[in-house]
């Protein structure tokens, strides 16, 4: 066997040598009689990107929203930096699949929205928003409205808004699924840069196998009925080797194939 990903098929614990920024412990979530999540536990190492990958209906977005504090688990608990989650908090920021921008507000006000909700004074929040607008490559569009931007640019606004509040944990719910393929590739490259430069913990929900393997330090494969973490994969050889080479690594291709093999039976 030439593959070298670390695999843990039993109840996942934090990989040795990593400190957890976020821990989900025995999370169950029921909607009436429907069991969305059952007794799910997962550790998210600090400063790394963890993907939640699985077929639709496996509860990956539900888990993300529970971590965000937007949904309450039926049982179990989430801890962020040792603090139990009871609702949304300043230690986490959310990037939405459909961008969730205020259509009546400019890019500047959208990016500053999180700071506005935290009561930061207008001049300071605008200065900080401008900084992050530049960082995501939207300089010059501060006074544009969302409907004047392309899908990719809108998600950059959503990303800048999440970065501007300087939360330690970034929760991303299929953030690139609504943008076109080329923009998406650029986003994935930028995301790798971001993980490297910002000392933040990223939790990234996706349904794209290639995307998960490309961007992740750790991939949690979730399977449905009942929802559970079936395995955790930590790609090792192609991390930090440059964004251009990842897709040519044999390990990258092997992991993609392996994940597909385990998921294909769940695809209708």
């Amino acid at each position: 066997m030439t593959m070298s990903p670390t695999k843990e098929t039993i109840t996942p614990v934090a990989a040795a040598g990593f400190e957890s920024a976020v821990s989900a412990r025995n999370i169950s979530k029921n909607y009436g009689n429907v069991e969305a999540l059952r007794d799910m536990s997962l550790e998210f190492p600090r400063g790394q990107l963890t993907s939640l990958l699985g077929p639709s209906g496996c509860g990956k977005t539900t888990l993300l929203k529970i971590i965000a504090g937007l949904l309450e688990p039926t049982s179990g608990e989430v801890e962020v930096n040792g603090q139990k989650v009871t609702g949304p908090g300043p230690d986490r920021a959310f990037v939405f699949q459909d961008f969730a921008l205020l259509p009546w507000a400019t890019v500047l006000r959208n990016v500053a929205f999180g700071l506005e909700m935290r009561g930061v004074a207008p001049s300071e929040r605008e200065a900080r928003a401008e900084k992050y607008i530049k960082e995501v490559g939207l300089a010059g569009f501060e006074h544009s409205y969302p409907h004047e931007l392309s899908g990719g640019m809108r998600q950059r606004v959503g990303l800048a808004r999440a970065l501007a509040v300087d939360a330690q944990v970034l929760l991303m719910d299929e953030p690139f699924s609504a943008v076109d393929e080329q923009t998406r590739r650029k986003f994935q490259e930028d995301l790798l840069q971001l993980v490297q430069n910002e000392n933040k913990t990223f939790i990234f929900v996706t349904h794209s196998i290639e995307e998960a393997v490309y961007v992740s330090d750790q991939i949690a494969i979730l399977l449905p009925r009942p929802s559970r973490v079936s395995e955790i994969i930590r790609p090792s050889s192609f991390r930090n080797k440059g964004v251009d080479n990842i897709r040519r690594y044999p390990e990258y291709l092997d992991i993609v194939d392996e994940i597909w093999a385990s998921l294909r039976t769940y695809v209708e």
Binding site: F94, D98, G114, Y145, V165
Partner: protein, 250 residues
């Protein structure tokens, strides 16, 4: 619209109808329709009279007060109904009943309850306008993109923040549409109130002129009323266009 290569200004059709009115009037077909020129002459004549100005003031006062209450109560009620299932279940049947009820028939009840004065007229005006404002605000809130609400929640928005910074703005296109229709209904409400409750304002003028067969005066006041209602409604339509850039993309 363009005709023979010329772009016609807005409402050019009014000229045509005005011309028709003039012809019918000059033909002397019926005393009920005096020529438009005569009506306009009368209009400028009565504009300066104290009777007219008093009527205008009384009508405007009742109208503005009635619309104010309809908006100030209607918009928050509608937004809260859109947000809260419980409130919606409680109030929606009543809103629907009153929206389609013949409110004119309720006016005598209002007179018993609130007397024969300005108060009853204002309440009548409010009752004519408020229901559609409530329904539209509610509809505006109900179509709100759920992830906007989640977004505000996730960034720690307080309920007040969410109300003023998310719900109100997200529902604004529908709210303005509701206010525009509400105001048109309020014009009806204020005149019906003035005719039925106490003979004051424009209602009194209509009563006076039609009872004395002063059709020129009658039409003149009607034109003034129409012009006022039309201007307000056009102003609101303008506001609606100002927010239409995001109405389709929420």
């Amino acid at each position: 619209m363009t005709m023979f290569g010329y772009r016609l200004p807005g409402m050019s059709s009014l000229l045509l109808w005005g011309l028709l009115w003039e012809i019918v009037g000059q033909g002397g077909l019926t005393f009920f329709v005096p020529p438009l020129s005569e009506v306009l002459g009368t209009l400028f004549e009565i504009l300066g009279t104290t009777a007219f100005q008093k009527a205008l003031f009384e009508t405007a006062y009742a109208f503005l007060a009635g619309v104010f209450f309809a908006i100030a109560i209607g918009i928050p009620t509608g937004i809260l109904m859109g947000k809260s299932r419980l409130l919606d279940e409680l109030l929606l049947p009543w809103v629907n009943v009153f929206l389609s009820a013949p409110l004119t028939a309720l006016v005598p009840v209002l007179m018993v309850l609130f007397g024969f004065g300005m108060k009853s007229i204002i309440i009548t005006t409010t009752l004519f306008a408020i229901w559609i404002i409530i329904l539209n605000s509610r509809a505006g809130v109900r179509q709100i993109n759920k992830s906007l609400v989640e977004m505000a929640h996730s960034f720690g928005a307080s309920p007040t923040d969410a109300f003023f910074k998310i719900y109100f703005w997200a529902a604004l296109p529908e709210i303005l549409g509701g206010v525009r229709i509400g105001i048109i209904r309020a014009v009806k409400g204020v005149i019906i109130g003035q005719l039925l409750i106490s003979i004051v304002g424009f209602g009194a003028l209509f009563e006076l002129y039609s009872a004395n067969f002063l059709m020129g005066h009658f039409w003149a006041v009607l034109i003034v009323l129409f012009a006022l209602a039309f201007s307000i409604s056009e102003f609101l339509a303008y506001l609606e266009r100002r927010v239409s850039y995001y109405a389709a993309k929420r």
